[in-house]
């Protein structure tokens, strides 16, 4: 069972599932946003059509080697995060890398991609890319603090940094969402920034910056970025479900829970105007930080 082939198979299946689910969610979000804004909106499978179109295109020009490897960095980060996060609990899924990395590793591997991407788009020399990158990195410093406080609170409370252990805890002790409510709130508020929907969408600033970091990439590169984005979105959603919602024992349950989580940043985004970068940072260091502190206190006292 534990052969190399089995591991590779597990990895590929996980990636395909993540890709499909992520793209579907993105398509659904477009549809829902449209309905809220009283538009008809594209069909939910529109993103698959886009992806197919981009993948079949050919690029004619490039700006150098680093630009080419930017998407590869992004892919490494997305795939490794999805492999480290247990997709289903009770070992109902391929083990992948579940027992080889922990939450701190996860935090770091999740930023690996954005740094690689930043370098890749940096080589294009497009000032819009660099502006987008600086905004993205700054915003990341903002939301990482409450996010880490939430994680530290959970890790300290249950004396483990392993996601698998946390899933086991929730099997018996109920969802962490209820037993560590403040950590959940801080985590969800940080998630708003992590998904980069409005009001935190100044990074790619779709209307002014020609999509920020990705502005010089097209064709297969844009496809790679799109797929890594959807894999990454799936990874983050599953992480939240694993952390706070007790994981899922089958795929249907997983879809229901991840979609419920996904609705939070999306619906919050639809009704919010955009923050400037420093406003976004100050937002994250306000209430989310406060809830992070509460979570820490809660973890220590109770």
């Amino acid at each position: 069972m534990e052969s190399v082939g089995y591991h590779i198979l597990g990895g590929i299946v996980t990636i395909i599932v993540a890709f499909t689910v992520g793209l579907t969610y993105m398509g659904l979000s477009r549809k829902i946003t449209a309905r809220i804004q009283n538009r008809k909106g594209p069909p939910f499978y529109q993103n698959f059509i886009d992806a197919l179109k981009l993948a079949s295109k050919e690029s004619a020009i490039h700006h150098g080697f680093m630009q080419h490897s930017g998407p590869a960095f992004l892919m490494v980060s997305a795939i490794l995060s999805v492999l480290v996060i247990p997709v289903l609990n009770n070992g109902n899924w391929f083990p992948n890398l579940n027992f080889h990395g922990d939450l701190i590793f996860l935090i770091y591997i999740m930023v690996f991609g954005s740094l690689g991407m930043a370098l890749g788009s940096g080589q294009t020399g497009n000032p819009n890319s660099a502006i987008g990158v600086t905004r993205g990195l700054s915003q990341m410093v903002g939301f990482e603090i409450p996010w880490v406080m939430a994680l530290v609170a959970i890790m300290v409370k249950y004396q483990t940094t392993s996601l698998v252990d946390l899933l086991e805890v929730q099997q018996t002790g109920g969802w962490l969402m209820f037993s560590s409510p403040f950590a959940f709130i801080a985590g969800v508020l940080a998630m708003l920034g992590m998904f980069r929907y409005s009001p935190f969408d100044i990074v790619s600033a779709p209307t002014e910056l020609a999509s920020g970091p990705v502005s010089e990439n097209g064709g297969k590169y844009l496809f790679t970025m799109m797929s890594s984005g959807s894999i990454f979105a799936f990874a983050k959603l599953v992480l939240y479900v694993d952390l706070f919602l007790g994981g899922a024992s089958n795929l249907i349950e997983l879809l229901a829970k991840t979609f419920a989580i996904y609705m939070i940043p999306m619906l919050y985004g639809v009704v919010s105007p955009r923050y400037r970068t420093e406003q976004a940072i100050q937002y994250f260091w306000g209430w989310p930080l406060f809830f992070g502190f509460l979570a820490l206190v809660h973890a220590l006292v109770f």
Binding site: H62, G64, M75, L97, L119, Q123, G125, P127, M149, T161
Partner: protein, 615 residues
């Protein structure tokens, strides 16, 4: 046993020969310089084992030289970095003047650092410490820029540290009657309470200066950026570790014995945390690469201090591992800046851009060490950061972990700024003539970057000597409890297994490299960085699109309230106050004989007037 003496004799002879014979011929000087380093390095790595040592008596005082398993860790850093930055320096300094002075001083610094690590008594420790301070001071003022501002700051703070240390040494000698460090540690519990608190604080002040602990750090940004880069590679990489070396000994062997000494460790750990956070913010603000790396060094030393001050086995492992890693990647980065400066003539981000295609190997070295600095897996920086976080959680320092996490996340900003500023962005015509740095400069950088990579996958390589050193300090062996060759564990038994992670990273990366990057690279054609779409418009040839001014402005606006206060300003106001005081003293103490005669007369009159009430 005699190997120790041989090493020092070679160092002294080599220094003298480099200085005097070096005046005759440049090639001879370089050969002598490298031969000295190579000979001592060879003797050290083959002839010295962690148990070697000698004792001798001078003027009735027993002194000793020897190497302990603990100082062996630092000796590896010093010797390794000295060899590589020495090779680099020979080429990098080629066109400078006054080189025999530079190289002799370089050797003197290496010798003094080895001397500090070899000293088993306080007298030779202090002498070598002073040689180190002075030789590095000469390097700080070597370029002749800002001698007043930077040099005096450095020597002033070093002097404060040195006098604090000297005071402690005198106290120790008067209490124990011996200068051997071993005797001091054994007898420390007999000291009275006041001394038990005073001596560690004095010693920590001395070591804190060298390891740039806030608020004693103000010399560092100027000194690191003002020295020649080939020397700063060692200055920041190895010399600052001497402070850490002393700090560990004080905190573990001495503070441990004080009742309630726990508080000293907590305070030092918090100072380290604040140092890390503030230095990172200031690093983001800098537009000069040297200044940025200098602040970044202060920040990184902050992490190391947090690790060693917490002092649990895992935290100590983390601190010492990060000390080694910092030596590796920060030296590489300073060498990169040196290479860029040599090829372009400036180290300012706002001037140089788009060097990636001109200096690809330098970029590779910079990229690897930046990834290590940012602590991103699979490079070595991650191992140290991971262990630090886990140890902070295991030892209940929850706010400190947030502090450290904030600074290491904010470090991404200056990491990106460094790579983007020099190597990425618009390729300007102004820099089209730039060529790759000479092989003699690039190879040491790549070797160091290779080490950063290797230690990320096999941290056990360096954790093994660290573990032995920690056993010498009284820790229980941590092998298989906190680390194996490529696995690291935390206090709760959770692990990160590097090998399968590494396979996946390499697998995925190579897959995309082959099927996307290389394939795409061949089928597409290169266009210049002017041929881009900026919001639908195609920029003209003369349009300047370089984006480097005010690079992290939004972030800096958000953190502006924190950065308003600057310790420098407080020091300046203290300095001004002192100046006023001295000015006042000058009015009294005029140097004029008549004034003194007047004072005397006034004094006599006062005596006569009040003689009844006084006596």
């Amino acid at each position: 046993m005699e190997t120790i003496l041989t090493i020092f004799i070679i160092f002294i002879a080599g220094t003298a020969a480099t200085y005097f014979l070096g005046k005759l011929n440049g090639v001879l000087r370089s050969i002598l310089f490298l031969a000295t380093l190579a000979a001592t390095g060879w003797l050290f790595f083959t002839g010295i084992t962690p148990e070697s040592g000698i004792e001798f008596r001078i003027l009735g005082i027993t002194m000793g030289w020897g190497i302990t398993p603990f100082s062996y860790i630092f000796a590896i850093i010093v010797m390794g970095l000295a060899l590589l930055s020495g090779i680099y320096a020979v080429k990098a300094m080629e066109d400078e003047k006054n080189l025999n002075f530079f190289f002799a001083n370089f050797l003197l610094t290496v010798m003094s650092m080895m001397g500090i690590l070899f000293s088993l008594d306080l007298i030779s420790f202090f002498i070598f410490w002073e040689i180190m301070t002075w030789s590095s001071y000469f390097m700080v003022v070597f370029t002749g820029k800002d001698v007043q501002k930077v040099g005096i700051k450095y020597i002033l703070f070093s002097a404060i540290g040195a006098y604090a240390m000297l005071m402690a040494i005198v106290f120790i000698y008067s209490f124990t009657g011996s200068v051997l460090i071993g005797d001091f540690i054994d007898n420390f519990h007999l000291f009275d309470t006041q001394m038990q608190w005073l001596i560690p604080i004095l010693l920590l002040t001395g070591f804190g200066v060298k390891s740039a602990l806030m608020p004693l750090h103000v010399w560092a940004p100027g000194a690191y950026s003002n020295s020649p880069m080939s020397y700063t590679a060692m200055f920041s990489g190895a010399l600052s570790k001497m402070g850490i070396y002393g700090m560990v000994i004080v905190l573990i062997l001495i503070v441990q014995q004080i009742p309630n000494g726990y508080w000293i460790k907590e305070v030092i750990a918090w100072m380290g945390g604040i140092t890390a956070a503030m230095a990172t913010l200031w690093a983001i603000k800098q537009d000069d690469a040297k200044k940025m790396l200098a602040y970044s060094s202060i920040g990184q030393l902050g992490y190391i201090i947090v690790g060693v001050a917490i002092g649990t086995p895992l935290a100590m492992l983390a601190g010492l591992f990060m000390a080694v890693m910092h030596g590796i990647f920060k030296s590489t980065l300073f060498m990169v800046v040196g290479a860029v400066e040599r090829q372009t003539g400036t180290s300012n981000f706002t001037e140089v851009t788009g060097l990636i295609r001109k200096m690809p190997w330098t970029f590779l070295a910079a990229l690897m060490s930046i990834i290590a600095l940012a602590g991103i897996p699979p490079l070595g920086g991650f191992i140290g950061k991971w262990m630090l976080y886990e140890s902070l959680m295991g030892s209940n320092h929850y706010l400190l972990i947030i502090m450290i996490f904030f600074s290491s996340t904010a470090a991404f900003l200056y990491c990106f700024k460094f790579l983007f500023g020099f190597f990425l962005g618009q390729e300007e015509k102004e820099w089209s003539h730039v060529k790759e740095a000479p092989a003699m400069m690039v190879i040491p950088m790549l070797i160091l970057a290779g080490f950063a990579f290797l230690l990320g996958i096999f941290p056990g390589l360096i954790l093994k000597p660290i573990n032995e050193g920690m056993q010498f300090l009284g820790y229980v062996s941590t092998t298989n409890r906190f680390w194996e060759m490529s696995i690291i564990f935390n206090d709760w038994g959770n692990a990160v297994v590097m090998m399968p992670i590494f396979y996946w990273i390499i697998g995925v990366f190579v897959f995309f490299l082959v099927f996307l990057t290389i394939k795409g690279y061949k089928t597409t054609r290169y266009v210049s960085t002017k041929d881009i779409s900026t919001s639908g418009e195609i920029p003209k040839e003369h349009e300047n699109l370089t984006f480097t001014m005010g690079f992290m402005q939004p972030f800096l606006r958000a953190v502006a309230p924190v950065m308003k206060r600057q310790i420098d300003k407080y020091y300046t106001s203290i300095g001004n106050g002192l100046e006023a005081l001295f000015d006042f003293t000058r009015r009294i103490n005029t140097g004029n004989g008549q004034t003194y005669a007047l004072y005397f007369v006034v004094f006599i009159i006062i005596l006569l007037l009040f003689k009844d009430s006084l006596f």
